[in-house]
Structure formats: C-alpha cells, structure tokens
C-alpha cells in the first residue's frame, strides 16, 4: 500500500459478493479501505489423539495450556511417543509462539487509539510468560519431541501424522494431510487452549487476493473475482485446501457442518491475525531467533525477548 502498488478493490465488486463474506475474514480492510478479498481463512486449533486419551482415561481435549501440560505428561512416552509437538526451526509463520502469546492475552505490538501499531510488547509479562512456558514444555517437563530447533511446523506435522505425537496445535491443512497419508489412528479437535485466567484468542491466518494498481485489465480481473466467488467454485476450492468457507452462503452447506469445521467456526470469535506492517518479515525473523536462542539455552526468555523487542523497535523507527 505504501508504494501505491495495490488498487482499492471495493468499487469493482458487487454488493452481493461483499455482503456474502464473513466480516472477520476481511483482514485486508485497512483504515476502512478494502484492498483485497480473503481467499482462504484458517483459524488454528488443537488436534489430539482420541485413542491415546481414552487409553489414559482423559475425558476430552484440554481447555487451558496448564491442562494441556498435565495431559501431555500423562501420555508422554519417549522415545516412541511424545505428549505435545513443538517447532523451533524458523518458518514463515511464528507458530507456535503466536498461540501461546495470544492465549496469554499478549500481542506483538501495543495498539494505539487510532488502530495503528505502537511499540513492540513481546517482552511484557504475557510474552515472557508464553515463551517461558514453551521452554518449560521442551526443557523442563520434556513433553515435546527433543531437538525442537530441528523441526519446522511441517516436520512436527509429520510426527503427528506418523503417530508419534499426542497433541498438536495446527490448522485445517493437517486434516487434509492426515487423510491423504491414510492415518489409521483416531483423532479429534479442540479449541486452541488459553492460559488459566486469560482469554482465548485463536490465531487466524487469512490469505488474500489483490489487484495491482498498474493493471490494465482491472475490469476483467473484477469479472474473474465475481466468477471465483460464486458458491460452486468457492466450495470446490475450500474442499481442496481444507479451510473453512469465507462465504456465508457456502458455510451453510452440509459439507461444512462436520466437527472440524464446527471447531473452526467456534474459534473465530476473538481470533487475531498477524500485524499488518511492512517490516513484519524481519520482525518475524528476529522473534524466531529469540525463540531458538531460548530453546538452545543460549538466553533466558526475558533476555531473548528484551533484545528482540529493542531490535524490532529500532527497525520500525528507520
């Protein structure tokens, strides 16, 4: 937007199309201008092994992270089976730190009254508490797979799909992978946990489709969007990628009444997305370094996040 490359999209689209999109999915509405349409929306939630939980007499998925730790300790059986998955290798997303941070009523930046982002706050009580808990899961309670800094989110997913994990925090794409690879064990879903006494905030990821300002075929592009956002094609697309529907009309179809979609719909209230700032990729990288340094014992969570927050604030001031 800053370089003037993106065309505000609202004037090209019909009211019927725009009214049919879930308001919570309109991540690309910035300062009340709509710059893009949501293509896919993915709240994060919890997968767990229902067969293993049943074996150990655990009633259902954990509601809080503290309960998740207790459950993980019960089912943990290294080296063949681990309680909960954790990724520590740099990836495009800051998972799982985002889940624990949001579940501790934390966020990446202070929000100014006008809605813009202020100073970085990952090193406040919520942020340090979240990273401390994650580090404890790995290094104190040892209920995760060891060597977490060798695992990206995809590799943790591989562990769950191959039956080596009891709990994993992930998105709808894991369901597609489980089915494609023919996983034979039983699994269930739960809402993303929160810390006791804090609010539940799932992380929601939205991929959006936008139009370039320099495009010479804006009307044709809008025509394509009207075509693509018809129920028939959105249904096919959503089925393929495994994400919940962005269109209200598609959300009413019987296909999306399955338990996994139910949990995703229930995750939406209070869900938060990534900060929409141009420097986010670099901030992401800095926070990953802080997480990795903590897992490797190079720094304490407070040291790592203090340094990361200071670096992020310096970058944003440039």
């Amino acid at each position: 937007m800053k370089v003037g490359a993106v065309e505000p999209i609202e004037k090209y689209l019909s009211k019927k199309l725009l009214d049919n999109i879930e308001p919570g999915a309109m991540e690309a509405r910035i300062n009340n201008i709509l710059y893009a349409l949501p293509v896919a929306i993915g709240p994060r939630f919890l997968y767990y092994r229902t067969d293993v939980f049943q074996k150990y007499g655990i009633a259902g998925p954990p509601d809080t992270f503290e309960e998740m730790l207790a459950d993980a300790q019960k089912i943990n059986n290294p080296p063949n089976f681990y309680g909960v998955g954790m990724s520590g290798k740099k990836y495009t997303e800051l998972t799982e730190f985002a889940y624990y941070l949001l579940g501790n009523d934390g966020y990446f930046f202070k929000i100014n009254p006008d809605g813009s982002y202020g100073k970085c706050r990952i090193n406040d009580e919520a942020g340090v508490g979240a990273l401390t808990f994650m580090n404890d899961l790995v290094n104190k309670y040892k209920v995760t797979e060891p060597g977490v800094t060798a695992y990206t989110r995809d590799e943790v997913q591989d562990l769950f799909v191959s039956g080596k994990l009891g709990i994993m925090l992930s998105g709808a794409f894991t369901e597609s992978i489980l089915k494609q690879r023919g996983a034979t064990f039983k699994w269930g879903y739960g809402l993303i946990p929160h810390f006791a006494g804090k609010h539940r905030h799932a992380l929601v990821i939205t991929d959006s489709i936008m139009m370039f300002k320099a495009s010479k075929n804006k009307k044709a592009a809008a025509k394509f969007l009207e075509f693509f956002y018809q129920d028939k094609w959105r249904f096919e697309f959503d089925k393929l990628v495994g994400f919940p529907p962005v269109l209200k009309s598609v959300g009413k179809l019987p296909y999306f009444q399955a338990p996994i979609y139910k949990v995703m719909v229930e995750s939406m209230p209070g869900a938060k997305g990534w900060p929409l700032i141009p420097e986010w990729a670099e901030c992401n990288d800095i926070i990953w370094d802080a997480i990795g340094a903590t897992f490797l014992g190079q720094k304490t969570p407070k040291q790592a996040l203090d340094e990361a927050a200071a670096k992020i604030d310096r970058i944003r001031e440039e």
């Binding site: 800053k2 800094t149 060798a150 591989d158 141009p278 420097e279 990288d285 990795g292 340094a293």
Partner: protein
Amino acid sequence: MNKDLTPYSKRKTTFWSTESMLAYLLLLPCMAILIAFMFYPIVYVFLMSMYKTNRIGMLVRFIGTGNFRTLFNTREFWEVTIRSVIWTVLAVSVKTLVGLAIALLLNVDFKGRKLARTLVILPWASSVPVSAMLWQWTYNYDFGLLNYTLKITGLWKNPPHWLGYPLSAFFANLYVDIWIGIPFMALVFLAGLQSIPPNLYEAAQVDGTNLWQKFYYITLPLLKPVLLIATLLSSLWTFNDFNVIYILTKGGPVNSTDILITFIYKYAFTFLKFGPASAMAVVTFAILLVLSLIYARFYFKIERE
C-alpha cells in the same frame, strides 16, 4: 579502386566488406542477452548498494556509502562474513585433499577403474538442490537413513539431531557441500595427472626414488597450475554455496549456519531490504575479486617459472 582512399579508410572499407561484420552481427543477440540479463542487473546492484531503496527495489535516494557504513557497524554482518571464510577454507581444504587422493587412486590401472570413475562423478552429476534435499531427509532424526543405520548397527545408540544444534548443523552442511564438490576436484586433478609424461616417473624409478619422492618432486610441481585453478573455482563456488545451506537449515538454527550468500538472500527476498543486500553483494564481489587476483598472481608466477 578509389585512389583517394587513405590507408585507414581502406582498412575501414575492407573491414565492413569481410566476414568480420557478419561475426559481429552474429554476436549481437548474445551480447544483447548478456547486457540485459547480466551487465544490467550487476550495474543495478551496484546502484542499489549506494541508494535507499523501497520494498520493490526502486531507487529512492542517493546515500553514497550509507548502506556500507550500516553493514560494517552490524555485528551480525561480521559474524556471517567470518563464518563464510571459515566455511570456504574448511570445505575447499578437504575437497582438495580428498579429491587429490581419489585422483591418485583413479590414476592407477586396476580392474573396475571405469566403474569407479563413474561412481565418483555421481554426486556432482546430480542436481545440487536434489542432493541437498536427499541429505535433508538423510539427516532427519526420526525418519532419516543416517540415524536409522547408526541405531540399528549399534554404532551410535542416541545419535543427535544433526540439523538442530549450531555446531552439528554447521558440520552437517559442510559435509554435504564437500560430498557434492569432491568429484569435480577429483576429475580435474585426474586430468592433470594424466597429462604428466610417464617417462618422468620411469626416470625417477631408475634413480631409485620412492613413492613419496615421486609425488613431491614430480607430481606436485607439475600439478600446481591445475591445483590452483581447481581450488580457485572451488573457493568461488563454495563461498557462494546457497543451495546446500538454504535447503538444509535456511541459515539456522539461530543464524548459526548463515553465510554471506544466504544472509544476502534473507535481506533481499525476505526482508525486502535491497539496499543493504546489494551492499553485501558488492562486498562479496570485492572479497572474491581479491581472492581471484591473488590466485592469478600465483598462477602467472608458476607459468613464468
């Protein structure tokens, strides 16, 4: 014939009426491609290194050495540069020594030599990204062949997460780079060995020299030019070995395997900071230019001798 033509004009007319004009015309498309896809991007990188750029690579404001000053004041830049040098020195040394040993062995006539030569070239013949991905899976703690073999043979009951810790990740990356690079060195050295006249060894045999003396007084001096060229090329490629590190560890964990080229990539294509990334590219060019000039000096010194 025009009697008023000067010798210069005569040469000019002759030039345009001969095959030279055709040669230049035929070279023109290639030159156009080189200029468009090589020289123009190189010049633009030099420009970006001296400008503040926006996130789509457009020049915003001339800042002279601003990007370089920021880089030289960044601790991470120096860490990555020193690591690149260590990475290159270690990898090229091992590739040279092992490559030379393999070349000496393959120079001996034995049964199955042709098969051995074919097998040696395989790592280099495969695409580097494909090899790196294979090794990524080989190093995988849970499903990889390496740990499976170590556990099942009892050689190492609890092997490490090779790519999960700074030191093991660095050496795991180094090993793959060496594994891919050895065949080139072995083949170049083998070609060099085969160009050494056998009568020199026969004469040495008559004089009663041993194997080591033959190697030190005949093989090594005559192989020096080839050694220099091969190690120079290997140094240039190893210093810029993006594929192996990016695929195996993406510079992690915690930037412990980042070298200049992966650092440049991160700045340019993840952070979209083309100015500092271009400044680093210019620094890389300067380092490799100095290295090439030093090699060239040694090479021409040997030629004169």
